[in-house]
């Protein structure tokens, strides 16, 4: 699938360019898949070419070698750092296909990775990410190191704190007797969630049928091939003119079989894959929704705890207890945390609002392209089928005019 975003230029929040006459641009392409390694260790490496005039980047062009797990690293980092933003999805890991590494699979993966990186590069906020710069520029050893750190068992301290807090909140839930999970209940948000969940189902179904349609094209192609062969053999048994007519018919049939196989491939790449891509996209939005839920819960709980601490503090202050000092410190700490959590949550909400709009526009555009391609392809196929068979008719007429 053509990456349309490649050519779109970046707008908005970039620094002033080096030279006033050129607009800022950041364009990335993922190319040239090469299979490396052997057997179970085999993997595909890609060339990632970055062309840019942004000051944060080195030089007008930079080429690095990356593998699938590097992309995974990048995505995980972005997902952590930019909560609320719909980080574009990656193509599936697919442990099974890996072993087969068919040309088709490799190409589909490359195309999907290309789209992934470009979507990130075009996102006004995410494009400024340091991790992105690392991904696009760091040499392979550095990249390997980064990647190893992330997927290793060494988690960052912040993560540990988060895990601790999660446990803590679960415990306090139990203690406080809260059974219902804390959730946002605004009508608008409910609607959004419902929309996203349903959308996934609809897209998944459409994708399923699209995939079957690809298969049908292939099957029809195959049966045309077999039919053509059989008809030619039949023609060989018959005398003239039927024999020649059958032979012509068979040849045409075989020819059309090739066209069908080609179209099958087109439908797969330009129609089914985009649909699959959007199913994944919606799934990643669901993950963002989950993040929002977590942030909301935190915000609520911390607010609650802050409230309790405040009440406690007031009580202590009234009784002029010597625990006041301690309590005050605690109170301030919790209050600060609570504010952080609230800000975090609100940022997610704001981001999501913008993201939804962006997502819909992007979806409309990209789906539009996919549909258009599909319709064009089908029209082309149908017309070439009509042409091929039509060209046979004069010959058939001529043959049947011959006195049998």
């Amino acid at each position: 699938m053509e990456s349309t975003e490649q050519t779109r230029s970046i707008s908005g929040s970039m620094q002033s360019p080096r030279s006033p006459s050129s607009l800022p641009y950041l364009s990335v392409s993922v190319t040239d898949p090469v299979k490396l390694g052997n057997g179970v260790q085999a993997y595909i490496s890609y060339r990632v070419i970055t062309k840019t005039n942004l000051p944060e980047y080195q030089g007008p062009e930079k080429i690095v070698i990356r593998r699938y797990s590097d992309f995974v690293w990048l995505r995980d980092r972005l997902f952590e750092k930019y909560k609320g933003i719909f980080i574009p999805p990656l193509p599936e890991k697919s442990a099974v296909e890996k072993f087969r590494f068919s040309a088709e699979f490799i190409e589909m993966r490359r195309a999907a990775l290309d789209i992934f990186v470009n979507r990130i590069a075009l996102h006004p906020e995410v494009q400024q990410s340091e991790d992105l710069r690392t991904f696009l520029q760091a040499d392979e050893e550095t990249m390997d190191r980064f990647r190893f750190q992330e997927t290793g068992i060494f988690k960052k301290p912040a993560d540990l704190m988060q895990m601790f807090r999660d446990v803590q909140s679960k415990v306090s839930d139990a203690v406080l007797g809260k059974e219902k999970p804390v959730e946002e209940t605004t009508a608008a948000y409910e609607k959004l969630k419902h929309y996203i969940y349903e959308l996934e189902n609809h897209l998944a179904e459409a994708q399923k049928h699209a995939y079957r349609l690809v298969k049908r094209h292939r099957e029809l192609g195959q049966s045309l091939l077999d039919f053509g062969k059989a008809v030619k053999l039949l023609g060989a048994c018959e005398g003239e003119p039927t024999g020649k007519a059958f032979s012509d018919l068979g040849t045409k049939s075989e020819l059309l079989s090739i066209k069908l196989q080609k179209e099958a491939q087109q439908v797969l790449m330009n129609f089914e894959e985009p649909l699959k891509d959007y199913v994944r996209y919606v799934q990643s939005i669901k993950a963002t929704i989950a993040e929002r839920g977590t942030a909301f819960k935190q915000h609520c709980e911390l607010a609650e705890t802050t409230k309790l601490k405040e009440i406690n503090l007031d009580k202590l202050m009234l009784t002029r207890s010597d625990k006041v000092g301690e309590a005050e410190i605690e109170y301030r700490e919790i209050k600060a945390e609570s504010e952080v959590a609230t800000r975090r949550f609100e940022r997610i909400v704001t981001r999501m609002e913008e993201e939804i709009v962006r997502f819909q526009e992007q979806k409309t555009e990209e789906m539009g392209v996919a549909f258009h391609q599909f319709a064009k392809g089908q029209a082309r196929l149908a017309n070439s089928i009509a042409d091929a068979w039509r060209s046979l008719l004069p010959k058939l007429e001529a043959s049947s005019a011959v006195q049998i």
Partner: protein
């Protein structure tokens, strides 16, 4: 004949339900709504007329598409006998129509059709002898005027319908078996039937077997269309209803083929079968046991001619040896054939007709290729059907998605261009229908291959007649020398006895009589053999011609069909592409 109503299973009903949904879709966007409505009514009427194509393409039989050939509703009343699917019908009616740019009417002619093929006379000829319900193929066959005898005024149309259960009248206390009878209606203007006339009889399958057997006897050397199979394994799967329906269809096909045969259609046997009310007055084929009893009486007479030559009419000799009473003759002919195959000596009359042997070989090859081609044809039909189904499902999924997006839009951004998807969905559903129509037509055309499989069997039968006639000749020929020898021996021996040897002389007389009879029989057999050879030859020639014509028509019909529907689909998709051209990335700048 909505066999599928017996619900082959969940999937079937699901599919039907989906089709109902598709039926009820408002596809009115470009004025197609008008075209949809007749299709909804099509379901009940359409299928009954299309019994013809169901038989061969068993893969289709489970999926009786309610959308397939939209029938009479679309066609003006005066051309009722045609029952042609609108697309082919309109081909020949509406010449003026230009190549389609937009779907004004739902069903449109393939645009080139009027250029290439001239109009046919719609009044006459869908009822042509034995042709199936006016498929495109029979229309073309007419323009090629295949059989010289069928001028447009001759026709005979046979319909088999109305199966009913009847009880055998029986003497036993228990009561007789039940069996099925079928109503056989003939419409014809042939003089042999005192036509033009219309008449009906009721027959059971056993009668058909009798007819087939009598024809086989009377028309040796002819390529007689094979009759439907006698017994079907009464498996649990096949319900009685389905079986009866299949048989009905098969009987109809068989009788139509018989009436299409230029010689057999004039046979007494067929006439009597079609016309005589009440019990069929043809000699029933007897079973082996009663023949054995019969045979015990007639045994000596076969080939011995004792007690006077008149005892056994010589012409019986020329009938192939059947079981039972012809036991002895069977043995002799068997011996002969073994000696033909294994013996050192050449049989007196050899099948020296190299041409015949080559032809036989060729026929066998041809048969193999026809089998192969018809199998691949079935696969092709299945693939087309699947394509249509999946396309339809895709369309439905997108319609649902469109509806969903419109209902659930949380922002106006989503509503901006809902039509893109809707157009695609609509086009997919249309394309799906086109595939189904295409397919039902394809089935009719490619069914020709199945037909000719049947004819190949008929040819084999004709060749077999020839071989068995030759065997009879050979057997008789080899009898003669040994009889002769015996006479000579006896004569030599008796001449040594003075005054004659009464008993020996008598024996010599008898033997001479036998020789005479055998000579006569031999001559008859030779004449019969020659006659059968000639039948073979003319039949094969006739068949070759017919087959070539039919195959040409099949191909043309098939190709015309493919072009027509490909054009239709191309137009539908082109329109969608046109309407969504703002998404054309080639056009998008930079």
């Amino acid at each position: 004949m909505m066999g599928s109503e017996n619900a082959d299973g969940f999937e079937e009903t699901n599919l039907n339900a989906q089709r109902d949904v598709m039926e009820n879709l408002d596809l009115g966007v470009d004025g197609d709504a008008g075209g949809d409505n007749p299709l909804k009514k099509s379901v009940v009427n359409g299928d009954t007329s299309n019994s013809g194509y169901r038989s061969a393409m068993s893969t289709l039989s489970n999926v009786r598409d309610p959308l397939s050939p939209p029938p009479t509703v679309m066609i003006p009343a005066d051309s009722d006998p045609l029952l042609a699917p609108p697309s082919s019908y309109e081909d020949f009616r509406s010449f003026g129509s230009k190549p389609i740019s937009s779907d004004n009417s739902y069903i449109e002619p393939p645009s080139y059709a009027d250029v290439i093929f001239s109009p046919f006379d719609e009044n006459s000829d869908s009822e042509i002898n034995g042709a199936e319900d006016s498929s495109l193929h029979s229309q073309f066959s007419d323009s090629l005027s295949r059989s010289p005898s069928s001028s447009s005024s001759d026709y005979i149309k046979i319909t088999v319908s109305n199966p009913q259960k009847e009880q055998e009248t029986s003497n036993s206390i228990v009561g007789g078996n039940t069996y099925i009878t079928y109503q056989i209606t003939t419409r014809t203007n042939l003089p042999e039937f005192d036509g033009p006339s219309d008449f009906s009889v009721r027959r059971r399958f056993r009668d058909v077997v009798t007819l087939a057997d009598r024809l086989a006897e009377s028309y040796r050397g002819f390529c007689i269309p094979p009759r439907p199979d006698k017994s079907v394994v009464e498996s649990q799967v096949m319900q009685k209803q389905e079986f009866v329906e299949q048989r009905r269809v098969a009987l109809e096909k068989y009788l139509r083929r018989l009436s299409a045969h230029p010689v057999i259609r004039n046979s007494d046997e067929l006439k009597v079968f079609l016309q005589k009310q009440g019990k069929l007055p043809l000699q029933m084929s007897t079973d082996v046991a009663s023949r054995m009893l019969d045979g015990a009486v007639k045994l000596p007479k076969q080939l011995f001619g004792e007690g006077g030559a008149s005892a056994v009419p010589v012409h019986e000799v020329v009938q192939p040896a059947k079981g039972g009473r012809d036991l002895l003759r069977l043995f002799k002919e068997l011996r002969q054939s073994v000696s033909n195959d294994w013996g050192g000596s050449k049989p007196p009359v050899v099948e020296e007709d190299r041409e015949f042997l080559e032809k036989k070989e060729k026929m066998h090859d041809l048969e193999q290729q026809i089998i192969n081609a018809s199998q691949q044809a079935e696969s092709l039909v299945k693939a087309q059907q699947d394509m249509g189904e999946t396309m339809g499902e895709l369309g439905l999924a997108f319609i649902k998605l469109t509806k969903f997006e419109n209902e659930e839009a949380t922002s106006n951004a989503q509503r901006i261009r809902p039509n893109d998807m809707k157009n695609l969905a609509t086009a997919a559903v249309k394309a799906s229908r086109f595939y189904r129509e295409l397919n039902s037509q394809t089935v009719k055309h490619l069914d020709t291959l199945h037909e000719y499989l049947g004819m190949m069997m008929a040819v084999q039968g004709a060749f077999a007649d020839r071989s068995s006639a030759l065997l009879t000749v050979q057997t008789l020929l080899s009898e003669l020398p040994s009889l002769q020898q015996r006479v000579e021996k006896l004569e030599a021996a008796s001449s040594k006895v003075f005054g004659g040897d009464k008993s020996r002389i008598r024996k010599i007389e008898e033997l001479k009589e036998t020789i005479k009879v055998t000579e006569d029989a031999k001559n008859v057999a030779i004449r019969e053999y020659e006659r059968i050879k000639e039948n073979n030859r003319s039949e094969v020639e006739r068949l070759e011609k017919e087959r070539r014509a039919d195959f040409m028509n099949m191909m043309k019909g098939f190709v015309v069909n493919q072009v027509g529907y490909a054009e239709k689909m191309g137009n539908v998709w082109a329109k969608v592409a046109e309407e969504s051209s703002q998404y054309d990335i080639e056009k998008q700048s930079s």
